[in-house]
């Protein structure tokens, strides 16, 4: 199939790469002057494991190429993977496509009327219907909604082998076309749900909201456990063992970040406030913002409200392991808090240092290190903020030797509290 893909989000790139690999002719819409795909991807998408190579490969094979938006409008199959805030732009491009359709067929191989647009952007509940209203569904000009389900760091795997797919379509032809397109990715599929676009959009929001609630809940419990002198690890295991609950998304920590997750949750929170006067998710989001500063507060109290001129080491600043992105990351709030208190900050991260340098490069209080132990020299405290695997079993003896004060604040409960304490560290976790 010849398919135009609109948008430069991670989902757009990953979808383009994998659809090209499975034999489609993919046209990625690009109205900029940039001709090198890797340059256009930008740093955070470029770091997505496996993506850059696959994109380059597919460009070489010419299964994947850039196209100008004007020519793209003439195609009959489109995928829209745009930023949640870009609804107006999507609206414009669909009306552009509709205008082209209302004229005469432009070439013989073009089916005169039929048109499939797959929307996999989170524009909010009801927005696919708004796009559909621009087209004539009786002539099989259809916008379907496909709930994307990818997380940064695992994007290719998520698209290649989904366990479950949800799409929203009320048109038989469009449903058939969408299924056909997704067939190469259905080997592990356990369930395929088809519903109306509005329902599918709502379902997608609901899932994200549920996950946010779980994280918010376990964090609240962790903060309480701390005050009651109970270990949250034990509570977490007991919660997870209950078959009605399960173990997923029950790790307490210093808050969640990431653009997609935060924005989608915010979208649902706003909808709840506006239509229901319910502040349930709003509260979760507000508490999450507070939770991001939890490691700072532990440091603050440990040093009796004065961290002026202290050396503070951060291990991990990306919003989650496997990603270089800093979007809504807890580390940003902590760095700002430390800067305001005139502390010196020493940062290590396996992937995100470049992004940190872009934000704080040249700041006299911010220093970056390629070696995680070097970041600990003369340190008054280590704050572990991202659970990169390489931090899980560090050389404690070396750490102890390098640090000025043996203090670990583990924002992800990654380390063994008992081991750290037995070696001589003061250890604070989240809820333990």
């Amino acid at each position: 199939m010849k398919i135009a893909i609109w948008g430069h989000e991670l989902t757009a790139w990953a979808t383009a790469a994998l659809l090209a690999q499975s034999g489609n002719d993919i046209f990625l819409v690009n109205d900029t002057q940039i001709t090198d795909p890797v340059t256009l991807m930008g740093s955070s998408i470029r770091n997505e494991p496996g993506l850059q190579d696959l994109i380059n490969q597919q460009f070489e094979k010419q299964n994947l190429q850039f196209i100008h938006s004007g020519s793209a409008s003439l195609l009959s199959t489109h995928i829209i993977s745009m930023n949640p805030a870009a609804f107006d732009q999507a609206h414009q491009l669909v009306s552009g496509i509709a205008r082209v359709r209302s004229g005469k067929p432009l070439s013989a191989d073009q089916q005169p009327d039929k048109l499939l647009i797959i929307n996999q952007s989170h524009f909010g509940v009801g927005s696919t219907d708004k796009l559909q209203a621009l087209l004539d569904i009786d002539k099989d000009q259809v916008v379907v909604y496909l709930a994307e389900n990818i997380s940064e760091g695992e994007a290719l795997k998520n698209i290649r082998q989904p366990k479950s797919l949800t799409f929203g379509s009320t048109n038989q032809w469009a449903s058939m076309m969408t299924r056909a397109l997704l067939r190469p990715f259905s080997s592990q599929l356990e369930q395929l749900l088809v519903m109306t676009p509005k329902e599918a959009e709502f379902a997608k929001l609901s899932i994200t909201g549920m996950l946010a609630l779980r994280i918010g809940y376990i964090n609240e419990l962790a903060n309480l456990a701390e005050q009651l002198d109970v270990d949250i690890d034990v509570i977490k295991q007991s919660l997870g063992a209950d078959p009605r609950i399960g173990h997923h998304y029950l790790a307490p920590g210093c808050g969640f970040g990431g653009n997609t997750f935060s924005q989608t949750t915010k979208g649902l929170a706003n909808l709840l406030t506006e239509k229901r006067q319910s502040h349930l998710l709003d509260t979760v989001l507000q508490e999450n913002e507070k939770q991001k500063e939890q490691p700072f507060r532990k440091l603050w109290r440990h040093y009796e409200c004065d961290i002026h001129k202290l050396n503070i080491t951060l291990w991990g600043v990306s919003f989650k392991p496997g990603s270089a992105a800093l979007d809504s990351a807890p580390s940003l709030k902590i760095i700002n808090a430390l800067l305001a208190q005139q502390a010196n900050i020493h940062i290590h991260d396996p992937e995100a240092l470049e992004n940190i340098e872009k934000l704080y490069g040249g700041h006299p209080q911010v220093h970056t290190y390629r070696d995680k132990y070097e970041a600990l020299n003369q340190s008054n405290a280590l704050l572990l903020l991202t659970e990169w695997p390489e931090y899980a079993s560090p050389d404690y003896e070396q750490m102890l030797e390098r640090m000025q004060a043996p203090l670990i604040i583990d924002g992800r409960n990654l380390l063994s509290k008992e081991l750290a304490q037995s070696i001589g560290f003061t250890y604070y976790g989240i809820g333990r």
Binding site: E293, F296, C305
Partner: protein, 565 residues
């Protein structure tokens, strides 16, 4: 020689004899009637003052000018601005005008540039505001401060309270998000209610007191500190460091209380309490409207200072306002003054002006130490105009007292909003403002045919008023407005030959209270004979002690009963 005996005063007395017989209605009917507004209103930048509803003519103004000249007003103005020691009873200058000098100005006091001190302090204040607005002023638990409680009384309360309310439309988002409260009352009722609703982890207290010994303020501050202590289980030193800012002229007293040096803001001996909202006492204002807003307010006041200093008598807003007040008080025998803002945002302006005018000019001894034989500051009170229309306007229209009024209203409001209802409410408020001043001035003559109404429906009129029309209420125009009244008060003090900058009348009561605290705390013999008070005070003391004793006995009995069950 008393001002009473000057030729200018005598000429005004004679003129008043005629003017007392002249109704305002007739002034508007007379030959100068049509041009009355043109000749009797003056404006400067964003303020317009209409004096045409005052019981004056051009003759009145020229006689008042002669009086001002006789009283050497220009000379006094120069002494005020230059930092001369004009607050003689306290042996210091009154330099609130120095607080609003632009950056890089110079004003030497004892060969020291105080304008520089002012700006150093403003910078310090600005850095505090910035830190709090950024969410980076942290409480003992590490959470950002989101609530401010200003503890202060008198000048440390009224000015900031009034300005915060007046300038709500000038708040940047960070100032709007902050919760700002004011606590002043000595009996603890305000603070007790307030603390119940606040979170100790995120509340910062500003303790404002010029002397840092004011008992009202310090007792509230101690209650606040105790509240933090019992909530936090944290060392007092930490609480002092993270939850208190001190604003005072006494660094030593702030140190003693435990405020660390970088949480201290200064102001100086040469600023009177009721003239201090331009100093660090204005910190709550800056927290609400941001430093740019605060500086705009200072610029507005400075513009008024320059105008007061340089504009000729006929065009000088504060001079005209002050001199016409003198005319009303000393020559037309009017001793009540109502402040009537037609804008809900100015709801605290009457209380502010009550202090500014009555604490400054409520005096009866001349600068020469003689008892004076003429009236000084009248009784001043007020309320938001449209609300007062449902309260005391009855007395203004049909009572037996002559009252002079200041109507204060902004010409423009709600323009940036797409809300025609609110825009209409503003026009309605203006219509009421104009209707009331017109009716007060003209009486029945304002309404055709009303002279035929029954006597209880008749309006006497002839109540003089000034209308202060503000272009739009902004930090700048608000600064102009308040400085206008400050200088008006000064003008009148010059004519009356009194020192407007001391307040000895409030001192003795404080001392007396200290004496009376002893018997209440039972630190003194409780038998009447051994105590020196009058029989009324003794009677009240005994009644209070007796009631407290009885209640205590009841409680003990109830407790015993409870434990025996």
């Amino acid at each position: 020689m008393s001002v009473h005996d000057t030729p200018a005063w005598k000429a005004l007395d004679d003129h008043a004899a005629t003017m007392k017989q002249t109704h305002l209605r007739d002034l508007f009917l007379g030959t100068e009637s049509t041009s009355r507004f043109d000749t009797l209103s003056v404006s400067h930048q964003h303020l317009l003052l209409d004096f045409s509803k005052q019981r004056i003519t051009q003759t009145t103004l020229s006689l008042l000018k002669a009086l001002a000249t006789d009283c050497q007003l220009d000379d006094w103005k120069a002494r005020l601005f230059s930092g001369d020691t004009i607050n003689t009873s306290e042996n210091r200058p009154a330099l609130h005008t120095a607080l609003r000098l632009p950056a890089n100005s110079e004003l030497l006091l004892d060969e020291h540039n105080i304008a520089e001190d002012v700006h150093v302090n403003l910078t310090h204040m600005g850095s505090m505001v910035e830190r709090i607005h950024a969410g980076q002023w942290r409480g003992y638990s590490g959470l950002p401060i989101d609530t401010i409680v200003n503890i202060g009384v008198g000048g440390s309360d009224l000015g900031p309270l009034m300005a915060c309310k007046a300038l709500t439309d000038a708040q940047p988002p960070a100032g709007h998000q902050l919760k700002v409260h004011f606590v002043s009352s000595m009996d603890g009722s305000q603070i007790a209610d307030l603390l119940d609703q606040l979170s100790p982890q995120t509340t910062l207290f500003i303790i404002s007191s010029k002397s840092f010994t004011t008992i009202d303020t310090l007792s509230n501050a101690n209650t606040a500190r105790q509240w933090l202590k019992s909530a936090s289980d944290v060392k007092t030193e930490l609480l002092n460091r993270r939850h208190f800012i001190g604003v005072s002229a006494s660094q030593e007293k702030m140190n003693q209380w435990g405020i660390p040096e970088n949480s201290q803001l200064n102001f100086w001996d040469w600023t009177g309490g009721r003239y201090s909202m331009w100093s660090a006492i204005g910190l709550p204002i800056a927290l609400r409207i941001g430093m740019p807003g605060f500086k705009a307010m200072l610029s507005g006041a400075h513009a008024m200072d320059e105008h007061f200093k340089t504009a000729p008598f006929e065009e000088n807003l504060p001079v005209q306002l002050g001199m016409i007040g003198v005319w009303n008080i000393n020559f037309l025998d009017i001793h009540a003054h109502a402040i009537l803002p037609y804008d809900g945002r100015l709801s605290h302006l009457p209380a502010y002006l009550e202090q500014l005018e009555m604490e400054s000019n409520g005096k009866s001894v001349s600068r020469q130490g003689k008892t004076i034989d003429y009236h000084t500051c009248p009784i001043l009170w007020g309320e938001i105009g449209p609300n007062a229309q449902h309260a005391f306007y009855q007395l203004l229209h049909q009572g037996t007292e002559s009252v002079m009024c200041d109507f204060i209203a902004p010409a423009r409001r709600y323009e940036e909003l797409d809300n025609s209802e609110l825009q209409q409410q503003h026009q309605l408020s203006l219509a009421n403002c104009l209707a009331q001043s017109r009716l007060l001035a003209l009486g029945d003559a304002a309404i055709a045919g009303n002279d035929a109404a029954p006597i209880h429906k008749r309006y006497r009129g002839n109540q003089p008023s000034t209308t202060v029309l503000i272009d739009e209420l902004t930090p700048y125009s608000f600064g102009q407005l308040i400085a206008l009244y400050e200088h008006k008060v000064f003008v009148q003090s010059v004519i009356w030959d009194i020192n407007p900058f001391d307040q000895w009348g409030v001192e003795l009561g404080k001392k007396m209270a200290t004496d009376l605290l002893k018997p209440l705390l039972k630190e003194q013999p409780t038998t009447v004979k051994e105590r020196p008070f009058d029989s009324s005070t003794e009677g009240l003391l005994s009644a209070i002690l007796q009631k407290q004793e009885l209640a205590k006995q009841d409680q003990t009995q109830a407790k015993e009963k409870g434990s025996s069950l």
